[in-house]
């Protein structure tokens, strides 16, 4: 919303306060000022010029040569405006002056003729968009008079974001802003001058009926005739223009001016179209042409203003073409009404039509504004044309009077809430300046909320605290530390565990953490052969191919593989993020966090990536929970539901009954679609399952005092024999001195018999009682190798 400082100064004297201070304090106490524009600053040395003579230009048909009396003798200038003629007065920019787009007016030669100044259009002096001709000034001004003494073009316009005024219906007009200024600077607010005696029972009462009283609280109407003036005063036009509205005609401009001044939207109907107003909701869909010439589909249950049965306006939103004022209108029915905010907002959303009026009604305006604004309208109209005729009694239908709000609040409560003590005198003075009624007795304040703050804004004690503290100034509140009871802190163990995983992956294993979007990109998914999946759907996605929340993070990571595959031959990334699922699209969503880590390489084969991730998974779970997970073959149905899982190179990660997730090389089909040369392997863990595991206690064993011996042996086996079997067989060997063994490596290739592979293990033998003698070692070796031979493993 744009606010004119000149307008504010109509109601409150701000002398002695700098513009900077005015808007800073407003920002600090009321709402943030987005922008400050100094209007008229770039217009200099423009005076009233009288066009004394007009001659045709010798070579150009469009141009005229004018002699202008600018107060100090005749000045010749060339003018192209179609409306320039002898005898008129217009703004004249003298040599050395400045207007819009021309920072210094200079003597120029136009098609061979000297021109020493410019006769200006309204747009050239910045008070309108109109550039059709020069601005012809009505009135008896002396040539040479500074234009700024006639037109109030020097002004400061500030802009406030409408969003920051959502909760303040009283600030949607200049008068409300002026009231705020008066409170902030403790200056006096002048009363709004209005026309009196509009309640006149000698005049006919208008025929107005409110049928839907829950949606229209108040409707004030007045008939005015004999309006002959068509154009609004220049200064009114300038204010409208500065505040972002286009001047149209006196009647329309006045309704707009009132809306900007009091905040009350008004509408003028051509009296010839109206003889009985009914406010009611549509009972069936209909078509209606609004005054902007658009035919609109009005659905059922939208509040309309009707002339008897015939709709003439969409209540609170926009008038109809059938009843709008036109060039020959001299009699009007003025509407000043109060509508319920929420239903009006709904209507405006349904129609896709938001107007200055609807934006205000949505905020729940003060119902007392309706009559006040009618009176103000008449006052301003009469200022322009004295002899307008008021031809009806001011008709005021007020069915649902606003309930007054009274709040009682204690001084200790105020002090406790603010944390600083504010004197009772200041509290009273602040609330009075905001026009609250206040009675102070003992420690208690009894406060009457004014109607313009009572529609929704102020309802309880905390609201009063806000009023006191913001006008007192938040900057004046002294910060204070807090005294609280000492308590042990509840750590969020799962979050700490997530951070541990991040540290391990990023610090130890050199992965990069990424963040992503929680919805699938189905265009990408289908491009690599992943069909539509997931039951959690967005109703209003920003893109149609992103309407499903992910139930796995693998597709997201595949997308990131696509992002990075060109820049890197090898990369490792991971994310800890939400995944979502539901039995069907109408059911409530189940969500938990997953860890998804991806290793991609054009150098290493996918087998080693797979084993890397298996090792990393073991390390993470060992670190977090001191456990060793089991890795088991995947179940067929799981492979089917996850098309990215390699049917052979994949394992389930388990601990006891819990399935923690999967490790797998990417399915060859997907790999083919993405990048044949890029090997990819994944681990995806359900962190809810991981976090649910109880950390295993460390069990300490005293290291032996006697040195042990390590022995490396490689065994030949058939290729079909898996590590697990060999491990189990070794584990089953009973020996009192075999204290442990570990896997060293596997080899299959040159030098081995066809169909064989070689597995190397390192065995540790030792005793807790003595140093082993060489006979002990020889005994063990002999017996153990014989055992292995019997099991089918030949020493290589």
């Amino acid at each position: 919303m744009k606010i004119s400082l000149n307008w504010i100064k109509d109601f409150v004297n701000l002398d002695g306060i700098s513009i900077k201070d005015i808007w800073y304090r407003f920002t600090m106490s009321t709402a943030e000022v987005d922008d400050v524009a100094e209007m008229g600053k770039d217009i200099r040395n423009v005076v009233v010029g009288k066009v004394v003579s007009v001659q045709l230009h010798p070579t150009s048909a469009k141009l005229k040569i004018c002699m202008v009396d600018a107060g100090e003798g005749m000045i010749q200038c060339v003018c192209g405006a179609p409306n320039v003629r002898e005898g008129v007065l217009a703004p004249f920019a003298k040599e050395g002056g400045s207007i819009k787009k021309i920072s210094e007016v200079k003597k120029v030669v136009v098609s061979g003729v000297d021109s020493c100044g410019i006769l200006c259009s309204a747009s050239e002096i910045g008070i309108s968009d109109n550039h059709e001709g020069i601005l012809i000034l009505d009135g008896n001004y002396k040539p040479g008079t500074d234009i700024k003494s006639i037109i109030a073009m020097d002004d400061v316009i500030i802009e406030i974001d409408n969003k920051s005024l959502t909760n303040r219906p009283d600030l949607w007009g200049h008068y409300g802003i002026a009231r705020e200024m008066a409170a902030i600077f403790r200056r006096k607010l002048k009363p709004l001058e209005v026309a009196e005696n509009l309640e006149n029972s000698n005049l006919p009462y208008l025929n107005i009926k409110i049928e839907d009283t829950r949606k229209c609280y108040r409707y004030t109407g007045l008939q005015i005739d004999n309006i002959k003036t068509r154009i609004s005063p220049l200064n009114m036009q300038v204010r409208l223009y500065y505040c972002g509205m286009r001047p149209i005609s006196l009647i329309v401009d006045l309704t707009n001016y009132l809306m900007l001044e009091t905040g009350q939207p008004m509408h003028a109907f051509d009296k010839r179209q109206i003889d009985g107003i009914v406010v009611k909701s549509t009972d069936k869909p209909m078509k209606f042409k609004t005054l902007d010439g658009v035919e609109r589909n009005i659905p059922e249950n939208v509040l309309m203003i009707c002339n008897h049965e015939k709709p003439v306006a969409i209540a609170g939103i926009m008038g109809g073409e059938n009843s709008e004022v036109s060039g020959d209108t001299s009699g009007i029915i003025l509407e000043s009404a109060n509508f319920e905010g929420a239903s009006l907002r709904k209507n405006s959303t349904k129609l896709g039509l938001r107007t200055e009026a609807s934006a205000r009604f949505e905020k729940m305006l003060d119902p007392n504004l309706t009559a006040l604004s009618v009176k103000r309208f008449v006052k301003l109209l009469k200022d322009v044309q004295k002899d307008v005729v008021i031809s009806s009694d001011m008709t005021d239908i007020y069915t649902e009077p606003l309930k007054p709000i009274q709040i009682t609040i204690g001084k200790p409560y105020i002090d406790k809430y603010i944390g600083n003590s504010i004197s009772p005198e200041e509290i009273v003075s602040i609330l009075k300046s905001l026009e609250f009624g206040i009675v102070h007795e003992g420690d208690t304040f009894t406060i009457d909320v004014p109607s313009f703050r009572s529609t929704k804004d102020i309802t309880m004690k905390a609201d009063i605290i806000e009023e006191i503290s913001r006008i007192h100034g938040y900057d004046n509140i002294v910060p204070k530390t807090i005294e609280v009871a000492l308590q042990p802190l509840d750590y969020n163990e799962t979050r700490l565990a997530d951070h541990r995983i991040r540290e391990l992956l990023s610090d130890k294993f050199a992965f990069s953490e990424v963040n992503s979007y929680v919805w699938y990109n189905s265009t990408f998914n289908s491009s690599i052969g992943i069909s539509q999946r997931g039951n959690v759907r967005l109703l209003n996605p920003h893109a149609n191919d992103m309407d499903t929340l992910r139930d796995s993070m693998v597709p997201t990571m595949l997308e990131f593989a696509e992002v990075n595959r060109k820049a890197y031959d090898e990369f490792s990334i991971y994310e800890i993020g939400g995944v979502f699922n539901a039995p069907d699209i109408k059911s409530k969503c189940e969500e938990h966090k997953n860890l998804c880590a991806l290793m991609g390489s054009k150098i290493k084969d996918e087998d080693s990536l797979f084993y890397n991730l298996k090792g990393i998974t073991t390390a993470i779970l060992g670190n977090l929970k001191n456990i060793e997970p089991e890795y088991t073959a995947m179940k067929q149905p799981d492979i089917e539901t996850s098309p990215w899982i390699h049917p052979v190179k994949s394992v389930e990660v388990r601990f006891g009954k819990r399935c923690l997730g999967y490790i797998f090389a990417v399915h060859p089909q997907i790999k083919q679609q993405l990048d044949r040369k890029l090997n990819l392997a994944f681990v995806e863990l359900n962190l809810a399952e991981v976090h649910a595991i109880t950390q295993k206690q460390v069990k300490f064993t005293e290291p032996s005092k006697y040195p042990g011996v390590t022995l490396d042996y490689s065994f030949l086996t058939d290729k079909a024999v898996w590590f697990d079997r060999v491990k189990a067989d070794i584990g089953n060997y009973a020996s009192s001195i075999l204290t442990g063994f570990e896997f060293v490596g596997i080899y299959s290739g040159k030098g081995l018999p066809e169909g064989k592979k070689s597995m190397t293990f390192r065995f540790t033998i030792g005793s807790r009682e003595r140093t082993l003698a060489s006979e002990d070692i020889n005994d063990f070796t002999g017996n153990f190798l014989k055992y292995m031979e019997e099991k089918g493993y030949t020493l290589r």
């Binding site: 603010i418 938040y474 807090i482 609280v484 969020n492 991040r502 990069s512 963040n515 109703l539």
Partner: protein
């Protein structure tokens, strides 16, 4: 015999001082002091001499043996030092400028880094960290935060709605209500997490971003406390004293509500394009918890008061690292991520 010893002594001393290699020195040691050396032979043959001669020659031979041992040790030290010097001179072309071995380094998302920093600050002040779901119910995201149906504030949130009637949380504030219902008062929590707004993305707008919610409820929590804690937080975050200002801001779940502005870090408050020439940067919305919200959380607003705030983690990460385009954070582009390291 003594003469023979003297000759031996001077010959040996001469030989030792003339030798230049450790190997040569070892040969001398064997020659002069070994089992088969002349000196050992003389000592072995002492038994054949007269008692007087035996005493004299024995003493002299042992003296010479000790002396030679000493000489050998000295010489060995001297040669050792020389040998090391020589070895070092051989490697004088060692290139210290070759790069160190390459160890791969990982990285954390910058939002994680900033988030952990703030978690640390608040954990240090005794705040617990809580989590909430990303898919929320209308109740927690709106209603319990004093944003009823058709409230204009719902428009400002640009909500992603789900087919099942739920929504993607538009802020971390639902965690306030969940925490109140779960723990009651007094309460000190922060809740970092991912939020969603259905708006078109550009360099400064994202539909997916991170916030950190904070809330403190106790018997006497005041506006003055709120200002204190916020100043403390920001001086920790920016690692220096900061100038802040509190001005009115409207959020339905707080009353009064504030916008906290930070003195512009770019221009220091004199005005620049970053702060739109105001000298201040809007940083975090905060306020005193609305009595209705306390009621929804099962807490008596007459007995307890509290403050709450919402910090834009993504925005903070942008400020901290000078990231100009917010979309970088969700891009998955390792070239960007690697720059942030892990601390």
């Amino acid at each position: 015999m003594l003469e023979r010893l003297n000759k031996l002594k001077s010959k040996a001393e001469e030989d030792i001082s003339g030798i230049s290699t450790l190997n040569g020195l070892e040969t001398l040691r064997v020659n002069y002091l070994g089992k088969k050396s002349e000196l050992t032979e003389i000592l072995k043959g002492l038994g054949g001499l007269s008692p007087d001669e035996r005493k004299q020659v024995g003493m002299e031979a042992n003296n010479i043996k000790n002396l030679l041992n000493e000489r050998l040790t000295e010489k060995s030290k001297e040669l050792g030092i020389n040998a090391v010097k020589q070895d070092i001179s051989k490697v004088s072309d060692f290139d210290i400028t070759l790069p160190g071995s390459l160890y791969p380094a990982g990285s954390l998302n910058p939002v994680t880094i900033v988030q952990r920093e703030i978690e640390k600050i608040f954990t240090g002040m005794g705040f617990s960290i809580v989590d909430g779901p990303e898919v929320e119910d209308d109740f927690y995201n709106f209603e319990a935060l004093n944003i009823p149906q058709h409230h204009p504030a719902r428009d400002m949130q640009d909500t992603y709605w789900l087919e099942n009637g739920q929504l993607l949380r538009t802020h971390t504030s639902p965690c306030q209500v969940r925490a109140m219902l779960k723990y009651g008062a007094p309460l000190k929590i922060i809740a970092p997490g991912r939020c969603f707004r259905n708006e078109s993305t550009d360099a400064s707008h994202e539909n997916t971003f991170f916030q950190l919610e904070g809330m403190m409820i106790d018997k006497n929590v005041s506006i003055a406390n709120l200002i204190y804690v916020m100043k403390l937080l920001l001086s920790k975050v920016f690692n220096r004293d900061v100038k802040v200002r509190l001005r009115p801001g409207f959020f339905p779940f707080v009353e009064p509500g504030f916008e906290l502005d930070l003195n512009c870090t770019i221009c220091g408050g004199t005005g620049c394009p970053t702060c739109k020439h105001s000298g201040w940067v809007e940083l975090l919305p905060c306020g005193m918890v609305h009595p209705n919200v306390l009621k929804y959380g099962g807490i008596d607003p007459e007995a307890y008061t509290g403050f709450a705030f919402g910090l834009g983690l993504t925005r903070l990460a942008m400020m901290k690292y000078g990231v100009g385009d917010i979309r970088v954070f969700n891009s998955g582009d390792i070239r960007a991520m690697k720059q942030f390291g892990t601390r």
